[in-house]
Amino acid sequence: MHDAGPGPMARRKVKTSKPVTYADAEPSAFASMLGGLIEANVESRPERKKDFDSLAARVGIWVTDIDEGVTLVFERGALLVHNGLEPKRDITIRADADTVMNLSNLKIGLFGMPVYYDEVGRGVALKLLQGKMRIDGLVGNLATLNTVTRIFSVAG
Protein backbone atom coordinates (compact mmCIF):
# COMPACT_ATOMS: atom_id res chain seq x y z
CA MET A 1 0.00 0.00 0.00
CA HIS A 2 1.20 3.47 -0.82
CA ASP A 3 2.52 5.39 2.19
CA ALA A 4 1.53 9.01 1.81
CA GLY A 5 3.56 10.15 4.82
CA PRO A 6 6.82 12.04 4.54
CA GLY A 7 9.70 9.71 3.81
CA PRO A 8 13.42 10.40 3.57
CA MET A 9 12.98 12.00 0.13
CA ALA A 10 10.96 14.85 1.64
CA ARG A 11 14.05 16.50 3.07
CA ARG A 12 16.01 16.44 -0.14
CA LYS A 13 16.51 19.92 -1.53
CA VAL A 14 16.02 20.15 -5.26
CA LYS A 15 17.04 23.55 -6.58
CA THR A 16 15.51 24.18 -9.94
CA SER A 17 14.95 27.93 -9.98
CA LYS A 18 17.29 30.27 -11.79
CA PRO A 19 19.72 32.22 -9.59
CA VAL A 20 18.83 35.53 -11.25
CA THR A 21 15.28 36.79 -11.77
CA TYR A 22 13.85 40.14 -12.78
CA ALA A 23 11.28 42.18 -10.88
CA ASP A 24 9.99 43.96 -13.97
CA ALA A 25 8.06 42.35 -16.80
CA GLU A 26 10.36 44.16 -19.22
CA PRO A 27 13.83 44.41 -17.72
CA SER A 28 15.88 47.29 -19.09
CA ALA A 29 18.86 46.50 -21.31
CA PHE A 30 21.16 47.46 -18.45
CA ALA A 31 19.27 45.21 -15.99
CA SER A 32 19.41 42.28 -18.44
CA MET A 33 23.09 42.82 -19.11
CA LEU A 34 24.08 43.05 -15.45
CA GLY A 35 21.83 40.15 -14.45
CA GLY A 36 23.15 38.05 -17.34
CA LEU A 37 26.72 38.88 -16.45
CA ILE A 38 26.27 37.88 -12.80
CA GLU A 39 24.40 34.70 -13.73
CA ALA A 40 27.10 33.60 -16.17
CA ASN A 41 29.82 34.46 -13.67
CA VAL A 42 28.18 32.58 -10.80
CA GLU A 43 27.43 29.52 -12.91
CA SER A 44 30.92 29.22 -14.35
CA ARG A 45 33.08 30.04 -11.34
CA PRO A 46 32.66 28.19 -8.04
CA GLU A 47 34.44 30.92 -6.03
CA ARG A 48 31.91 33.49 -7.30
CA LYS A 49 29.06 31.08 -6.44
CA LYS A 50 30.31 30.87 -2.87
CA ASP A 51 30.17 34.66 -2.57
CA PHE A 52 26.76 34.74 -4.25
CA ASP A 53 25.37 32.17 -1.83
CA SER A 54 26.57 34.16 1.18
CA LEU A 55 25.55 37.66 0.18
CA ALA A 56 22.42 39.37 1.48
CA ALA A 57 22.34 43.02 0.45
CA ARG A 58 20.52 45.61 -1.62
CA VAL A 59 22.87 47.27 -4.05
CA GLY A 60 22.02 50.15 -6.37
CA ILE A 61 23.99 51.00 -9.48
CA TRP A 62 23.30 54.25 -11.30
CA VAL A 63 24.98 54.95 -14.63
CA THR A 64 25.35 58.70 -14.66
CA ASP A 65 25.85 59.27 -18.39
CA ILE A 66 22.83 57.26 -19.53
CA ASP A 67 20.57 58.12 -16.57
CA GLU A 68 19.68 54.50 -15.94
CA GLY A 69 20.15 52.26 -13.01
CA VAL A 70 19.28 49.03 -11.32
CA THR A 71 18.81 47.69 -7.83
CA LEU A 72 20.30 44.28 -7.16
CA VAL A 73 18.65 42.46 -4.29
CA PHE A 74 20.96 39.63 -3.23
CA GLU A 75 19.25 37.05 -1.03
CA ARG A 76 21.86 34.37 -0.29
CA GLY A 77 21.89 32.36 -3.50
CA ALA A 78 19.27 34.35 -5.38
CA LEU A 79 19.30 37.72 -7.06
CA LEU A 80 16.32 39.87 -7.95
CA VAL A 81 17.10 42.65 -10.41
CA HIS A 82 14.91 45.76 -10.44
CA ASN A 83 14.88 48.45 -13.11
CA GLY A 84 15.84 51.73 -11.44
CA LEU A 85 16.76 52.52 -7.86
CA GLU A 86 14.56 50.96 -5.19
CA PRO A 87 14.46 52.16 -1.56
CA LYS A 88 16.44 50.74 1.37
CA ARG A 89 19.69 50.14 -0.46
CA ASP A 90 22.78 49.24 1.56
CA ILE A 91 25.17 50.55 -1.08
CA THR A 92 24.68 52.70 -4.17
CA ILE A 93 27.38 53.07 -6.80
CA ARG A 94 27.10 56.03 -9.17
CA ALA A 95 29.49 56.16 -12.10
CA ASP A 96 29.67 56.55 -15.86
CA ALA A 97 29.20 53.60 -18.20
CA ASP A 98 32.90 52.99 -18.76
CA THR A 99 33.62 52.90 -15.04
CA VAL A 100 30.74 50.52 -14.37
CA MET A 101 32.14 48.19 -17.03
CA ASN A 102 35.60 48.57 -15.54
CA LEU A 103 34.30 47.48 -12.12
CA SER A 104 33.74 44.09 -13.75
CA ASN A 105 37.32 44.09 -14.92
CA LEU A 106 38.85 44.60 -11.48
CA LYS A 107 41.15 41.73 -10.70
CA ILE A 108 40.72 39.93 -7.40
CA GLY A 109 43.91 39.53 -5.42
CA LEU A 110 45.04 38.17 -2.11
CA PHE A 111 42.36 37.48 0.51
CA GLY A 112 39.67 38.21 -2.10
CA MET A 113 40.47 41.91 -2.19
CA PRO A 114 39.98 43.83 -5.44
CA VAL A 115 43.31 44.90 -6.98
CA TYR A 116 43.63 48.68 -7.21
CA TYR A 117 47.28 48.89 -8.25
CA ASP A 118 47.09 47.66 -11.86
CA GLU A 119 45.90 49.79 -14.81
CA VAL A 120 42.19 48.99 -14.41
CA GLY A 121 42.31 49.31 -10.61
CA ARG A 122 44.14 52.63 -10.74
CA GLY A 123 41.55 53.94 -13.21
CA VAL A 124 38.69 53.00 -10.88
CA ALA A 125 40.48 54.41 -7.81
CA LEU A 126 41.18 57.67 -9.66
CA LYS A 127 37.51 58.05 -10.58
CA LEU A 128 36.67 57.59 -6.90
CA LEU A 129 39.23 60.21 -5.83
CA GLN A 130 38.07 62.65 -8.50
CA GLY A 131 34.47 62.24 -7.39
CA LYS A 132 33.50 60.80 -10.78
CA MET A 133 32.45 57.62 -9.03
CA ARG A 134 30.45 57.86 -5.82
CA ILE A 135 29.68 55.06 -3.43
CA ASP A 136 26.93 55.84 -0.94
CA GLY A 137 26.76 53.65 2.14
CA LEU A 138 30.38 52.58 2.00
CA VAL A 139 30.95 53.13 5.73
CA GLY A 140 30.07 49.89 7.46
CA ASN A 141 29.57 48.05 4.17
CA LEU A 142 33.12 47.66 2.89
CA ALA A 143 32.97 43.86 3.12
CA THR A 144 29.70 43.88 1.18
CA LEU A 145 31.25 46.09 -1.50
CA ASN A 146 34.19 43.70 -1.83
CA THR A 147 31.85 40.71 -2.12
CA VAL A 148 29.76 42.48 -4.77
CA THR A 149 32.93 43.40 -6.66
CA ARG A 150 34.03 39.76 -6.63
CA ILE A 151 30.63 38.61 -7.93
CA PHE A 152 30.87 41.18 -10.76
CA SER A 153 34.45 40.45 -11.62
CA VAL A 154 35.13 38.68 -14.88
CA ALA A 155 38.88 39.17 -14.46
CA GLY A 156 41.20 36.58 -12.97
Binding site: S28, A29, F30, S32, M33, G36, L37, A40, N41, S44, V63, D65, I66, E68, A97, D98, V100, M101, N102, S104, N105, V154, A155
Partner: protein
Protein backbone atom coordinates in the same frame (compact mmCIF):
# COMPACT_ATOMS: atom_id res chain seq x y z
CA UNK B 1 39.08 58.91 -50.36
CA UNK B 2 35.71 57.99 -48.91
CA UNK B 3 34.29 54.53 -49.54
CA UNK B 4 30.68 53.40 -49.41
CA UNK B 5 29.68 52.36 -45.90
CA UNK B 6 29.53 48.59 -45.37
CA UNK B 7 30.90 47.84 -48.84
CA UNK B 8 33.71 45.41 -49.70
CA UNK B 9 36.15 48.36 -49.98
CA UNK B 10 35.06 49.59 -46.58
CA UNK B 11 35.70 46.11 -45.08
CA UNK B 12 39.27 46.10 -46.48
CA UNK B 13 39.99 49.58 -45.10
CA UNK B 14 38.44 48.70 -41.74
CA UNK B 15 40.58 45.56 -41.50
CA UNK B 16 43.70 47.62 -42.27
CA UNK B 17 42.83 50.10 -39.53
CA UNK B 18 42.33 47.29 -37.02
CA UNK B 19 45.66 45.71 -37.90
CA UNK B 20 47.43 49.08 -37.68
CA UNK B 21 46.15 49.67 -34.15
CA UNK B 22 48.66 48.84 -31.41
CA UNK B 23 45.95 49.58 -28.85
CA UNK B 24 43.71 46.90 -30.35
CA UNK B 25 46.59 44.43 -30.62
CA UNK B 26 47.31 44.75 -26.90
CA UNK B 27 43.69 44.90 -25.70
CA UNK B 28 42.51 41.93 -27.79
CA UNK B 29 45.28 39.57 -26.79
CA UNK B 30 43.63 36.21 -26.18
CA UNK B 31 40.47 36.99 -28.16
CA UNK B 32 39.61 34.01 -30.38
CA UNK B 33 35.97 34.31 -31.36
CA UNK B 34 34.18 35.48 -34.49
CA UNK B 35 32.13 38.66 -34.32
CA UNK B 36 29.20 39.54 -36.54
CA UNK B 37 27.70 42.99 -36.91
CA UNK B 38 24.18 43.08 -38.25
CA UNK B 39 23.16 46.34 -39.88
CA UNK B 40 19.39 46.24 -40.04
CA UNK B 41 17.66 47.58 -43.13
CA UNK B 42 16.21 51.07 -43.21
CA UNK B 43 14.72 51.46 -46.70
CA UNK B 44 13.99 55.16 -46.15
CA UNK B 45 17.73 55.69 -45.54
CA UNK B 46 18.78 53.93 -48.73
CA UNK B 47 19.54 50.67 -46.92
CA UNK B 48 16.94 48.36 -48.45
CA UNK B 49 18.27 45.09 -46.98
CA UNK B 50 20.01 44.07 -43.79
CA UNK B 51 23.75 43.61 -44.17
CA UNK B 52 26.25 41.58 -42.16
CA UNK B 53 29.85 42.33 -41.31
CA UNK B 54 31.75 39.16 -40.43
CA UNK B 55 34.96 39.55 -38.47
CA UNK B 56 37.46 36.79 -37.88
CA UNK B 57 39.47 38.27 -35.02
CA UNK B 58 42.21 36.30 -33.39
CA UNK B 59 44.65 37.23 -30.64
CA UNK B 60 44.81 40.95 -31.46
CA UNK B 61 44.72 40.54 -35.23
CA UNK B 62 41.94 40.85 -37.79
CA UNK B 63 42.45 37.77 -39.97
CA UNK B 64 39.47 38.58 -42.15
CA UNK B 65 36.70 41.14 -42.27
CA UNK B 66 34.11 40.91 -45.00
CA UNK B 67 30.62 42.07 -45.79
CA UNK B 68 27.99 39.42 -46.42
CA UNK B 69 24.40 38.51 -45.75
CA UNK B 70 22.99 39.28 -42.32
CA UNK B 71 22.47 35.55 -41.74
CA UNK B 72 26.22 34.93 -41.97
CA UNK B 73 26.90 37.59 -39.33
CA UNK B 74 24.16 36.12 -37.14
CA UNK B 75 25.97 32.79 -37.05
CA UNK B 76 29.09 34.29 -35.44
CA UNK B 77 29.93 33.57 -31.80
CA UNK B 78 29.29 37.20 -30.83
CA UNK B 79 26.65 39.20 -32.64
CA UNK B 80 25.86 42.89 -32.29
CA UNK B 81 22.68 44.03 -33.98
CA UNK B 82 21.33 47.52 -34.58
CA UNK B 83 19.50 49.48 -37.26
CA UNK B 84 21.61 51.32 -39.83
CA UNK B 85 21.09 54.72 -38.15
CA UNK B 86 22.53 53.47 -34.86
CA UNK B 87 25.65 52.11 -36.56
CA UNK B 88 26.10 55.43 -38.29
CA UNK B 89 25.85 57.16 -34.90
CA UNK B 90 28.52 54.81 -33.52
CA UNK B 91 30.87 55.32 -36.48
CA UNK B 92 30.50 59.09 -36.30
CA UNK B 93 31.06 59.10 -32.50
CA UNK B 94 27.56 60.36 -31.81
CA UNK B 95 26.87 57.23 -29.79
CA UNK B 96 29.36 55.45 -27.55
CA UNK B 97 29.14 51.72 -28.19
CA UNK B 98 29.36 50.79 -24.49
CA UNK B 99 26.55 53.15 -23.61
CA UNK B 100 24.60 51.93 -26.62
CA UNK B 101 24.80 48.35 -25.37
CA UNK B 102 23.80 49.30 -21.82
CA UNK B 103 20.82 51.22 -23.21
CA UNK B 104 19.81 48.40 -25.54
CA UNK B 105 20.40 50.54 -28.63
CA UNK B 106 22.90 47.93 -29.76
CA UNK B 107 21.80 44.38 -29.02
CA UNK B 108 24.48 41.94 -28.03
CA UNK B 109 24.40 38.15 -28.28
CA UNK B 110 27.24 36.10 -26.85
CA UNK B 111 28.99 35.27 -23.61
CA UNK B 112 28.72 38.42 -21.50
CA UNK B 113 31.72 37.90 -19.19
CA UNK B 114 33.94 37.47 -22.26
CA UNK B 115 32.74 40.63 -23.98
CA UNK B 116 33.04 42.62 -20.75
CA UNK B 117 36.60 41.36 -20.32
CA UNK B 118 37.41 42.81 -23.73
CA UNK B 119 35.61 46.16 -23.35
CA UNK B 120 38.75 48.10 -24.27
CA UNK B 121 39.28 46.03 -27.42
CA UNK B 122 35.69 46.56 -28.54
CA UNK B 123 36.02 50.31 -27.90
CA UNK B 124 39.14 50.37 -30.06
CA UNK B 125 37.34 48.45 -32.82
CA UNK B 126 34.75 51.22 -32.78
CA UNK B 127 37.55 53.81 -32.96
CA UNK B 128 38.91 51.99 -36.02
CA UNK B 129 35.58 52.37 -37.81
CA UNK B 130 35.70 56.13 -37.22
CA UNK B 131 39.08 56.33 -39.02
CA UNK B 132 37.67 55.05 -42.31
CA UNK B 133 36.27 57.96 -44.36
CA UNK B 134 32.81 56.88 -45.38
CA UNK B 135 30.10 57.91 -47.75
CA UNK B 136 26.78 57.14 -46.07
CA UNK B 137 23.91 55.76 -48.14
CA UNK B 138 21.42 58.28 -46.77
CA UNK B 139 23.71 61.17 -47.74
CA UNK B 140 24.27 60.08 -51.33
Amino acid sequence: MAVNAFSDEWAVRFKDEVNKSSVYKAAAKGWKWTVGLVIEAEPDKNVPESVGVVMDLFDGEARDIHVGPASEAQSCQFVITAPYTRWKQVATKELDATKGMLQGKLKLKGDLPTIVRYTKASQELTECTTRVPVQWPDER
